[in-house]
């Protein structure tokens, strides 16, 4: 059997690797972006000079040959699902028995006037970073439109080249659509501390170019003009489905799939950023644009393709990010506001750079999730507590079991417990006495 995978990102590559672990099927991975799999999440570090492109490749180049995973650098232009054939832009034909579509994402653009000027771009691909290298030569001021996770990365990249950064966000706070107010403010302060200019409650109206077609300013909806030589478009990404948009394959925002990652066409599957679940779990997004979900989906799909039909279950939500110097880890579904049946507990260090939040059920105090800023916390512990509905008082008392900061770091457990006991006088948390000299 010949399995063809379009897209050599984390989801496509994981599928290929796990198919190989279980079977001898012929595997071909096609991508137009790079010869080998690399880590998209590390793109910013290439620009900042922390790493070179080579360092972002999780596997050495010989790995693919050794595991008989054939790679092909080509752009697929068309798919004929009836005859099971792919066509490259150079007119080459490739046949498949099973097809995996994992074409990833593209930058969202909302038809802003001037969005195609030189110096205006998003950042999703390796080529985008190369372009950014070109586009930022000699630039002194830049605007980042939209303050999500890629937005803050691009801001940091620009900042590393001493470019003045303005970040334009629609909400009242940075990433205010997701982060609770306190956390959003914490990040906002940190952005300001880095001398970046966070402009809230502001939307892009148009981008103005000079006579050479290069950006020279932007104008916001409230009429403000900001001069800049570079504009980063980071108002989210959406599934890259241009390849299958007008075909038999059912799509909405992304390629529609069921819980087995199957599309409406037999032997055709979609995973990763480009897939959209027909029936997402309650409160979960229908499109999962995350590194680890792509990885999990790839593993599940490899099982199915190799004959053990497996349902995808992402388990308890978690994620992490870094806002300039502040690390963020989250476990459980933690949105802007707690759900109606939830209460929230929030502690923040007086310096305003470290914080934690726990949401828990009003009825029985069972833990629903955590947000940590500037504190590293163990996933195993958080996952276990949320899964087993551990009581919030128990969790606060036992936070030390999950702290994952480097040795000799200061622990804020005592401060957190004191604060908890103050705001929840009914449930008194306690720190177990440390046993002496136990390794």
């Amino acid at each position: 059997m010949k399995i063809v995978i379009i897209g050599n990102g984390i989801s496509g590559i994981t599928t290929a690797r796990y198919i190989r672990k279980q079977s001898d099927h012929e595997i071909l991975v096609i991508s137009a972006e790079s010869d080998h799999f690399f880590s998209r999440t590390a793109l910013m570090y290439i620009y900042m000079g922390h790493m070179k492109y080579e360092h972002t490749k999780p596997y050495e180049d010989w790995f693919w040959g050794k595991n008989r995973i054939e790679l092909k650098n080509a752009y697929i232009k068309n798919i004929d699902f009836d005859s099971k054939k792919l066509f490259t832009d150079k007119g080459e034909e490739i046949v498949y028995d099973k097809l995996v579509i994992s074409t990833g994402s593209i930058t969202n653009k909302f038809d802003w006037p001037g969005q195609d000027l030189k110096g205006v771009q998003g950042m999703v691909t390796k080529q985008d970073v190369e372009l950014m290298e070109e586009n930022t030569v000699g630039v002194t001021d830049a605007v980042v439109v939209g303050g999500g996770l890629i937005g803050i990365e691009m801001a940091e990249m620009l900042h590393s080249r001493n470019i003045n950064v303005n970040i334009l966000v629609r909400d009242n706070y940075y990433w205010g659509g997701i982060l609770p107010k306190e956390e959003a403010e914490l990040v906002g302060r940190h952005i300001a501390e880095h001398k970046m200019n966070l402009i809230t409650k502001s939307e892009l109206k148009e981008i103005v170019g000079d006579d050479k077609g290069k950006v020279k300013a932007i104008i916001t909806k409230d009429g403000k003009e900001i001069k800049c030589g570079f504009v980063a478009l980071t108002a989210g990404v959406s599934p890259n489905i241009s390849l299958v948009k007008d075909s038999k394959l059912e799509t909405d925002k992304g390629v529609l799939v069921n819980d087995y990652l199957e599309t409406n066409i037999e032997d055709v599957y979609a995973i990763g950023d480009c897939a959209q679940f027909r029936n997402p779990k309650e409160n979960h997004p229908p499109v999962e644009q995350l590194w680890y979900t792509g990885k999990m989906q790839g593993r599940v799909l490899a099982n199915t393709i190799c004959g053990t039909k497996t349902k995808y279950d992402r388990g308890i939500w978690f994620n992490s990010a870094k806002f300039l110097d502040i690390e963020y880890q989250t476990y459980g579904l933690m949105l802007k506001n707690p759900f109606d049946d939830e209460d929230t507990f929030y502690w923040e260090h007086p310096d305003g750079k470290i914080s934690m939040r726990a949401n828990f059920a009003k009825v029985d105090g069972s833990l629903r999730g955590f947000n940590f800023f500037g504190i590293r916390f163990k996933q195993t512990v958080a996952d276990d507590w949320i899964r087993n509905k551990k009581n919030i008082t128990h969790c606060i008392s036992n936070l030390h079991k999950g702290f994952f900061d480097t040795e000799f770091y200061k622990s804020y457990h005592k401060e957190i417990v004191e604060h908890f006991n103050k705001v929840h006088p009914k449930d008194q948390a306690k720190i177990a006495k440390k046993k002496f000299l136990v390794f």
Binding site: A42, G49, M51, V300, Q379
Partner: protein, 512 residues
Amino acid sequence: MKIIRNIGLTIFLICFAVFLSLPFLGKYKLTEKIFTENFKDTEQQKLLKPALKDFFKKEYNSNISFIKDYNKAFDSVNDEFKKNKEWDKVIYDNHVFSIVKNSSQGFVKDNVAILFIICFVISSLGGLMYMIPALFIKPIAGIKNDHIFQRGITNRGIIAFLFAAFLITFYIFIYQKPAYLSNWVLLVDGLSNTLTGTNASQWFLYGFLYCLIMLVMSVRMYIKYRDNNYQLLRTTSVLFFQIAFAFMIPNILTNLQLPYMDFKNIWPLDYSFFFDYRLTELASNGMLGYWMLGWGIFLIIIGVPVMVYFFGKRWYCSWVCGCGGLAETLGDPFRQLSDKSLKAWKYERIIVHSVLVFAVVMTIAVLYTFFTGSSTLLGVDTYAIRQTYSFGIGFMFAGAIGTGFYPVMGSRVWCRFGCPLAAYLGIVQRFKSRFRITTNGGQCISCGNCSTFCEMGIDVRAYAQNGENIIRSSCVGCGICAAVCPRGVLKLENLSEEGRFDAYVRPEEKAF
């Protein structure tokens, strides 16, 4: 702030240029007095004097021609003896280093104090002026590896190769031709006299420079990792052990006419620990000598395994060891240059364990000769084995390659490929230790920062992205992988041995 930086750099470079010029400056004149002071053997004096007659009158403008003529005169005497088969008369030690050093006159000799200040004090201040503004240019603590791969010095540019060439040349001269560097050594005579009560040797200079460089470069570490207590403590620890244990204590022991000993240097890194002259020296110092011998053996047999069991190899490699100390200070800007390929790992295992075997064999041979008096073991000259080790491993590998290749192959070339003690510590760490680097579940995004900045060339990501703990014999526990990880995935820990190899599997995934 940028201006201060540039001034600092300029000051440093000027001082460095002055330092580099010293071996080429000054005049050299050997007097009979100097000659007799350095050639204490009156018999030899008598044999050599006729050949050196012209030499005594002449003043040289460069040490190169001085050394050339001196060696020529010396060799001519020896050649004569050899021709006449008068083997008992042949003179082996020409004392060229102390002869040159004491014959130095003029500029350097006359300005020792001021040159000391320029070369060591002002240059260090220049270095600090370059480093400290980082606190103001980047006032917010955090990992700042910006532009590392965009600058020649940290990304194998021409300047990096020049620096490597300088380091290698320095090692070759200090080990093999110290006479040419005698003007440098002159600068630290004063300090040496205070500490040890004798004039400085090239090794005193080397030790002094080692401490100074570590001191200045640890300021850089303190600034760079100021929000990371593990790094701050570790840097303080290596610095303390270098200055106190490797430099001060041995020199003070010398001053007290006691055996020179670095109490933290452990065989087989301290490969001469069982050499006859050292054993004899220890044996001739009564209780203290035996205690020193006992301490050395205790460290080998009990210290190493027990400490590695509880804390991992890091207790030594990145908290105590001098080689490690230099790598973690001077070497830190180059750590990302280590080779992470599987091939490099294969070579590493073969080479480092071969060196360990070599060290053990060499030591057995040396001890055999020490106890039996027979100079051959299984037909091989034990002295030759010992010399081969000293030259090949002690000088070439540990010195010239180990440090010289910092700017090309990263900071731990010796520790990774060559150090026999590291191999020993590593075997314990791999098979019987509580130490590990724990991976935080599924949080890894495979970005590669950890692997890139691992000076031991461990592909940390390969483990982290699979949710596996990192247990590798070569890991020196520097903690940088955990520091640079942008997702808080890694933590160095000493935990119970149980389950140390278990990967994290999410309950959902247990199904498949």
